[in-house]
Amino acid sequence: MIMPRRLLIEQGGAGHRGPALPACDVPQRPLAELLPGVVLRAELVFPQVSEPEVVRHFTELSTLNHHVDRGFYPLGSCTMKYNPKIDEELAGLAGFAKAHPLAGDDATQGCLRAMAEVQRLLAEITGFAAVTTQPAAGAHGEMTGLLMMRAYHRSRGEGERRRRVIVPDSAHGTNPASVSLVGYETVVIPSGPDATVDLDALAKALDDRTAAVMLTVPNTVGLFEPRVLEVTRMAHAAGAQCYMDGANLNALVGRVRPGDLGFDVMHINVHKTFSTPHGGGGPGAGPVAVAKHLEPFLPTPVAVLQQDGRVRLDWERPQSIGRVHSFNGNFSILLRALAYMLTLGPEGLAEVSRVAILNANYLMRRLAKSYDLPNPQACMHEFVLSGRGLKKYGVRTLDVAKRLLDFGVHAPTVYFPLIVEEALMIEPTETETFDRLDHFATAMERIAVEAAEDAELLHQAPHTTPVGRLDEARASREPRLRWSIP
């Protein structure tokens, strides 16, 4: 008989203790004397569990997770590639882990050097003039980029008039949400029939109220925007700035520099392209790269490499948008990205996008025989299938996703982008081998057959996971968001 799984609060109890603290080795005074007039808390209802049981609790929890080190994880737009072990080791070096962010520039030259180097390499790879590493995630980077463009328009006396941002209907949800956050208004333009930008719709939307055009390249169905140079030219002719959502940079890295496409600013998800681990939903990091004219607006402080080879934090930036993070952004995540870039070198970078594109196209062609492929052109690093062909069997994309879990692979991103019915968005990444891709393709093909022969098998899936389909409606009706005290 297996012991039932319990939350920490349901374990241990009075008399159970975790690891011990040292006895106080300085003269003690009563708290009431040290903190006169301060009201202390009467109770704290917390677990009391022994160390071995805490270790077992979290070890057991860990076994319930699917993860990249265990198996294929084709979540579209998330770039679930292998996370090198050496990067973890180096980010944990005491010299970095124990550095305090307010210790002063002289005492933290190693950190500042690493930060300046990450910025230099990212600028080189993306083709921009400068990079800030302060934003903690992609959406944070989006907001930072939008603030810089807003500051730019204001500096030219156009801040009041230019308040609209044009976003295609295929965009990530963070784009319009970030636009709202900085007080701008989103203007959504419909995509053309092949899911790329409709230049007529763009021309109609562009005017002297447009602050920016935000574009994801390759777009969210995995296609390179063939008229991207035309898009950025039209936007600039209208006095607007061009923002590139860098979520899909893995398709371009080492091969195309977004700066050369006419963009003024982009964010980079280092947890995607530069292989830093996703950590169950963060921490990531979202550095922002900008063209020369936006450099004065970068968040402060800016790491500057001096002529004597030392790196200083520069605070004297009168046009800066200010600070966007408590300290220096997700520094140890950036260290991992630096280690990764240095491991790759120039040729390795190009190999990443080459194999990512190759893997995606191979899977796409194989799966197009079993599923609908709305956009048959060659894809970049990812592609989107539609599960609409299975609807006649009463099977939905969600059922396909759940059944995949029984084959030991994670499901693709589902129901996104919104412009594809019953979407299945698949991104294999370059670190998957031919054998892994074949196994996934075989599973998908088998599921398509099952849909026709035994729809109920799919409706009841998954069958082999620690829990079955969970009742999300019940969860949201009267949400239980914290444990109850036993």
């Binding site: 203790r17 300085v26 808390r41 997770n65 080492g254 996104f416």
Partner: protein, 446 residues
């Protein structure tokens, strides 16, 4: 080296299946003029051996890391039990992503649920979310929630909130909509805050303990905010909350803060761990992710992401926030950390911080030229007025192997003689003595 495993024959089979002769045929949509002839000129490739040598050298250039730290100011050198690293570094947690498929993410989801439970209890609030980027952005999100909730614009910051938090507020909001009411003797004065509040005030934000380490009077600040129809927002250190009355119990509507001190290394200031807790009535307006308990079809307990209709991927421009990720791994570290310490351990850490910091302050007060800058009670951290510029004291620390504190002159020129000193449970009596010797030496005495 790009972590690719692909043989030439395999590549040929793939190209054949795709139906193209060469890889380059797949790039037809890309304008020829933007395709690079050579990859960007970055250094490398480096082997593990070379990489370890290079970054190892840079790590050693941070001599701050070899010194015994008395630095705080929002980032603290606290004990991290060995089991935190051992558990949180498991691939199963590190290389998983956002729990979009809950059936294969119960590990991450259960841990977040436990994190939410513990943060709600610690803050005295009804609910807490799955975490935010850091304390500063959590504070911004709290201010934005208060503005949505009240329909008012003005954000009133009371007393010594961390200067970086104030700076981030001013970046996100229109700086004219942020009013800062300064301190008197280091503390927020309720009457001054009251005078600054008006019909356009959305919230009052204060920090507990404040930037100088001093303990504020939360109930008075909550009452004044509520009288003006504004929300009360407390920015709190979680270790202090193990000892002090939680603000959620005395009327704070939202409690946010930085939880790096719960099991995460300082790492030059990131990644950090913002937390966000609030009253039940604010639930539908909360930013960020939430995990709820539910059951599967067989009635087994399980956890899922919930109330996602608040979030950007569904609500887009109408979302409560643009946030897409949380700080999952740091939240996991905090959960393991709190689980290991438990109620008694956390309280012990907090009390050791009080005892040791007060011991250090007593020693300093006996050194000629030094004086405590404030009289109010403090927790873990205090400000010393030095007989010389504080940066001189920091320099003198090198000789004794200590980082004696933070030179506050870096924030404001008029604070150049002020040293912000944090003493955690990690510092022993000998280290505190060396710290005191540093003060002696820098102050000119032998």
């Amino acid at each position: 080296m790009s972590f690719v495993g692909l043989g030439r024959d395999e590549e040929q089979r793939m190209l054949k299946e795709i139906g193209v002769a060469r890889f380059e045929d797949l790039l037809a949509a890309i304008p020829q003029e933007v395709l690079l002839e050579h990859p960007p000129r970055i250094p490398g490739p480096l082997s593990e051996i070379e990489l370890r040598r290079l970054l190892g050298r840079w790590a050693r250039e941070n001599h701050a890391a070899e010194l015994v730290s008395f630095q705080g100011g929002g980032i603290y050198d606290h004990w991290i039990p060995a089991a935190v690293d051992a558990l949180a570094s498991r691939s199963e947690f590190v290389t998983a992503y956002t729990p979009y498929q809950p059936e294969v993410a119960q590990g991450t989801l259960t841990a977040i649920f436990e994190f939410q439970s513990m943060m709600a209890e610690l803050t005295g609030c009804d609910v807490a979310n799955a975490s935010m980027y850091d304390g500063a952005t959590a504070t911004v999100e709290a201010a934005l929630l208060a503005r949505r909730q009240t329909g008012r614009k003005r954000v009133v910051v009371a007393g010594m909130v961390h200067p970086h938090v104030l700076a981030v507020l001013r970046t996100y909001l229109d700086p004219d909509e942020v009013s800062h009411v300064g301190d008197t003797a280091g503390l927020a004065v309720p009457a001054d805050v009251k005078a600054a509040l008006g019909p356009d005030s959305a919230c009052v934000i204060y920090q507990q303990p404040n930037f100088f380490g001093l303990v504020e009077d939360p109930p008075a600040l909550h009452a004044i905010a509520h009288e003006a129809g504004a929300l009360a927002i407390a920015v709190c250190d979680p270790i202090a909350l193990a000892l002090l009355e939680p603000p959620g119990r005395t009327g704070a509507d939202i409690v946010v803060g930085e939880a790096q001190s719960l099991g995460s290394p300082m790492s030059f200031g990131g990644p950090l761990l913002g937390y966000f807790a609030a009253k039940q009535s604010l639930l539908r307006g909360l930013p960020g992710r939430l995990v709820a308990e539910t059951v599967d079809r067989q009635g087994r307990r399980g956890f899922v992401l919930t109330l996602q209709t608040r979030e950007q991927h569904i609500r887009r421009e109408k979302a409560t926030s643009n946030i897409c990720t949380n700080q999952g791994l740091m939240a996991l570290r905090a959960t393991i950390h709190m689980g290991l310490l438990g109620r008694l351990g956390l309280r012990e850490v907090a009390e050791l911080c009080v005892q040791k910091s007060h011991h250090a302050a007593r020693l300093a007060a006996g050194i000629p030229g030094y004086a405590l800058a404030h009289e109010a009670p403090f927790f873990r951290e205090f400000v010393l007025r030095c007989p010389v510029e504080a940066r001189r004291v920091v320099e003198a620390g090198l000789e004794f192997g200590v980082s004696p504190g933070i030179n506050l002159g870096r924030f404001r020129p008029e604070w150049k003689d002020l040293l912000l000193v944090a003493v955690t449970e990690l510092r022993d009596a000998g280290e505190i003595d060396r710290w005191a010797q540093t003060l002696h030496r820098a102050g000119g005495a032998r």
